[in-house]
Amino acid sequence: MHRGVRGPAAVFAALALFCAANAEAAGDVERGRAKAAQVCASCHGADGNSTMDNIPSLAGQPETFTTLQLILFRERIRLVDAMLEVSRPLTDGDVADLAVYYARLPPKPGPGARDAAKADHGAALAERLRCATCHERNYAGRDQMPRLAGQREDYLLHSMKQYRDNQRTGTDTTMQGVLYGLSDADLAAMAHYLAQLR
């Protein structure tokens, strides 16, 4: 999908840009916990581990990753229906609080049996594509690169397809480049391998 100038009321007019007074303040875990309970937990899980189809776990995600994705949602750069309204009122301070809160939550991989052949295929692909260079050897992620280990398999597959098919943008075009030309089977194998990592 190509995001053009948006809709009939397309171009934003005279939007004053708020210089948030706490734009540079470090996030506060307790404020993040309260905000998450109010806004996020009903979908992403009370402990940040999602039990809902196609909704990602947030526990253990690197702070920078969560920060940037929330801003992408808030600024309508990354368009996900379920995130549009909840992200709109978030201040830069809220974003920082949520990011530090989720980064500290222990990730718990979901259930599911391991298909050895599929996982091996996925592991080999991840090696060839050098995924660990960014996402780390244990796939815990860092900076703006998300934790992949133990993420929901359905969500991993969905995300990879979106990048491959130019339907999702990251904070740069790296993932579109990395996944270009891969088959659904390739992506499914990698999603399975990564979801099974402990």
Binding site: V11, A14, E75, R128, T133, D143, N166, T171, L182, S183
Partner: protein
């Protein structure tokens, strides 16, 4: 793609038909007819397999002015640097309207800002929000042109309508630009010939580019009359026209993963329309590509006037024609270097001047604005992306990392 690539980069197929380029996508596939390593990881030798180098994350939140360490910035004797505008995350390419508005393009945050100078202080607004990576800006006859990957939009009489921008004239269909996002963000400028110049980067790190990529084009302002003025250009995000010869000069970003120290970024001069500047076979001052090999790789290509550092990301550039700076600066090129990610020892993060001899054979590079990079700590706090001369001869420099614009002035 040559067999050389397959042998050195792609491990033997796992025997699955799925690994062949089966996925038909609605994009220009001519560069990807065969299975390739991913654009970003292409061309990485085994020795770099465990590298931890990755692009830096953008800062998408506002940086308060008291968090910008201006006192760390250095300029030559007699010059002064001040904070001119701030609060614009992602601020990159700049263009000035006839009535004095400074428009500022971005990439990730998908905004164009409009900065107004109220004499003594600057205010800004988010003028446009939504087009994908609206980095390329140009101004002509009261209209702001915006290039956002393949979209080309024109906002007429914009300076009279900053509070309520008009619906743009959408010229995307006329320009027919490729849609790939990787290296697809644009720089725009009108030439002295009245044409609109548009670069199109190669949608990869290293690959044989299609007939539609790795080039610089010019068009009539309405998108008609397309001509390719330069080929073999990997990814140019800055150019200007020599004030006397009126020739096009451009920066070009070199490939990743070949070497810690190169191939360096290039400063090129277009002497003949359609000239070939080397990509993908020949880089910098005649370095053959390590993966895409061919006999006499540099034959028929034009070498840069000078190279601009390893992986340093030379982007915005302008010839200085003002009266404010000392006479020795007139005719020099100011170049912003956004700074490296594909080098363990960081490089760039500064503004240079390049002084080229009249015969074009010698070039002298001098640092101009430094201090964004702490070399000892190997850490940066700012990333200059574009430079722009103001009517009074002062120089504006955009800093994408801090969402700020600095003004550099000189007093006698």
């Amino acid at each position: 793609m040559s067999k050389g690539i397959a042998a050195t980069l792609v491990r033997p197929a796992l025997g699955s038909a799925a690994l062949m380029a089966g996925a038909a996508l609605a994009l220009d596939l001519s560069a990807f007819a065969q299975q390739q390593p991913p654009a970003w990881a292409q061309g990485r030798p085994q020795s770099m397999a465990d590298s931890k180098l990755a692009p830096h994350p953008p800062r998408m939140t506002v940086t308060a002015p008291d968090k910008i360490p201006l006192d760390k910035l250095k300029v030559p004797q007699g010059f002064k640097v001040e904070l001119w505008a701030h609060g614009m995350p992602g601020a990159r390419m700049m263009v000035r309207g006839d009535k004095g508005t400074v428009f500022v393009g971005t990439r990730t945050i998908n905004r164009v800002y409009a900065v107004s100078d109220k004499g003594g202080e600057r205010t800004h607004k988010i003028l446009i929000q939504g087009p994908t990576q609206p980095n390329g800006l140009a101004f002509r006859n009261g209209s702001l042109y915006v290039a956002a990957i393949h979209q080309v939009l024109r906002f007429d009489a914009i300076e009279d309508k900053l509070d309520s921008p008009p619906q743009p004239v959408d010229m995307t269909a006329a320009f027919q630009l490729p849609t790939e996002a990787h290296h697809g963000w644009k720089f725009l400028a009108f030439g002295p010939d009245g044409k609109l110049y548009v670069p199109i980067g190669a949608p990869c790190n290293i690959c044989e580019a299609s007939a539609n990529h790795a080039q610089i084009r010019r068009y009539n302002p309405d998108g008609s009359g397309m001509e390719i003025v330069a080929r073999g250009v990997r990814n140019s995000v800055g150019f200007d026209f020599h004030p006397e010869t009126r020739e096009l000069w451009f920066t070009d970003n070199g490939r990743d993963w070949q070497d810690e120290n190169g191939p360096e970024e290039e400063l090129n001069r277009v002497g003949q329309p359609g000239e070939n500047f080397g990509f993908p076979y020949c880089h910098a001052m005649g370095i053959p590509d390590q993966d895409l090999k061919k006999a006499n790789p540099c034959e028929g290509t034009t070498k840069p006037v000078v190279t601009l550092g390893p992986h340093a990301a030379a982007l915005g550039m302008r010839f200085y024609t003002g009266q404010m700076f000392p006479a020795e600066y007139r005719g020099r090129i100011f170049v912003a270097r956004r700074g490296s990610w594909n080098r363990t020892q960081k490089a760039g993060y500064d503004v240079l001047t390049v002084k080229v001899s009249a015969d074009g054979k010698e070039a002298k590079i001098e640092p101009f604005l430094t201090g964004f990079l702490d070399e000892g700590a190997n850490a940066f706090w700012g990333r200059p992306v574009d430079v722009m001369q103001m009517p009074d001869g002062a120089l504006l420099v955009s800093d994408e990392e801090n969402g700020a614009i600095y003004r550099i002035s000189h007093s006698r």
